[in-house]
């Protein structure tokens, strides 16, 4: 898609009113943490990218194929891909995020077992793929099937949950910019995943981050890989349409 198309899609999906007020979580960080993200030699996420590059070239599964066997050079073939996800997979009749896509490739084309969610190798591959969209605008999948996923995600985002009875929206929409203790509440734009979170001291997915909030309000997180997460991911990426991708981002 050409640049004009990107801008048009962004306006279509987000509406013009939000456009100026959206801020990445990056903007809420202190200068030291920002520098940790922007200096590739200081960003631990680049270690995951390096591991991902190695894994990209390694064969896996019965088919003895690597990612590279089919996709070639990741820097070319994966450019802009992560900015479109979650995307609709017609065969699975489901929206899948990038990690889900990697695992579909493994089972369909490599004859390999899917990697567990939050597996370091899976995060490494997703980080490598995500890096190929860094600086490109989020450009949600235009497949009409995605709208029901996004509306389910919106519903979940607005739903109060847990013993503390809070919805995602109550913090990240209504109180973004406020402080929970010392921590500024960001607007929940998932432009940098997988992220290196200082709290985790390792890479993690948006699903892991969502689970953190669910635990925080004293709810039971859905199991990893649940449709509920993919729906919220799809909704959040639509809200972030047009914002630049940052993978691998660093967050406190």
């Amino acid at each position: 898609m050409k640049r004009g198309g990107v801008a048009a899609l962004a306006v279509l999906l987000t509406g013009p009113a939000q456009a100026d007020e959206r801020r990445s979580g990056f903007d809420y960080m202190g200068p030291e943490t920002q520098l940790m993200q922007t200096d590739d030699m200081a960003n631990p996420g680049m270690l995951a990218v390096q591991a991902g590059m190695r894994l990209w070239q390694e064969t896996a599964g019965d088919a003895e194929r690597s990612c590279e066997s089919c996709h070639g050079d990741a820097e070319k073939s994966m450019r802009g891909v992560a900015a479109r996800y979650p995307a609709y997979d017609a065969t699975a009749q489901s929206a899948v995020d990038v990690a889900g896509r990697v695992n579909l490739c493994r089972t369909r084309h490599q004859g390999a077992e899917p990697l567990p969610q939050e597996d370091a190798d899976l995060l490494a591959l997703v980080s490598l793929i995500g890096l190929q969209s860094r600086g490109l605008p989020v450009m949600p999948d235009p497949d009409p099937q995605m709208s029901q996923w996004r509306s389910r995600g919106a519903d979940l985002f607005d739903r109060r949950m847990g013993q503390l009875n809070l919805s995602c929206a109550q913090c990240h929409d209504d109180n973004a910019g406020g402080h929970l203790g010392s921590a500024p509440i960001p607007q929940a734009h998932p432009t940098g995943y997988p992220i290196y979170r200082l709290e985790w001291q390792e890479m993690g997915s948006l699903q892991r981050r969502l689970r953190g909030c669910l635990s925080g309000v004293r709810s039971d997180p859905w199991p990893y890989g649940s449709d509920a997460y993919v729906a919220i991911e799809a909704y959040l990426m639509q809200r972030a349409a047009g914002m630049p991708m940052e993978t691998p981002a660093v967050r406190p």
Binding site: L164, N165, L166, C171, G181
Partner: protein, 139 residues
């Protein structure tokens, strides 16, 4: 259960919302010293994650809810109690968690199923403490 009944009566009293729960919860009279400890503890009361107040020893207080400075002068114990038990009675969209209600909750984690955030005694202790915060400005 008990809280739900009390809340229901508060909600229906006199057409307009009753603004308070005058009857103490079934507990010993509130102890402001214990109440302060609950308010200041980030894992028990959680209060100062969202509220600020006259607590010089607690770093990094939140700013999502009203400042608790002088809250004891602005609200009487009945009003404090209703806001603690279930602030949804005042504002259906509140971000104040329902500290003594299990009504209408969704997907509560197993660890907390059937539990309220604080128990009756803790609520009364917190109310007794908040009632002492009558100074309007913090020093």
């Amino acid at each position: 259960m008990w809280a739900g009944l009390v809340l229901a009566s508060a909600l229906t009293a006199g057409g307009a919302l009753a603004q308070g729960l005058p009857e103490p919860l079934p507990a010993l009279p509130g102890d402001p010293v214990r109440g302060r400890a609950i308010v200041e503890d980030r894992q028990t009361g959680l209060c100062l994650l969202c509220h600020s107040g006259p607590f010089p020893d607690v770093p990094f207080q939140g700013d999502l809810g009203p400042d608790l400075t002088g809250v004891g002068a602005r609200l009487d114990p009945a009003e404090l109690r209703l806001r603690m038990v279930d602030s949804r009675a005042i504002n259906g969209d509140t971000i104040m968690p329902p500290y003594f209600s299990r009504d209408g909750l969704n997907r509560v984690g197993d660890r907390w199923t059937g539990e309220t955030i604080l128990d009756a005694q803790q609520i009364e202790d917190v109310i007794a403490f908040l009632a002492t915060l009558t100074q309007e400005e913090s020093e």
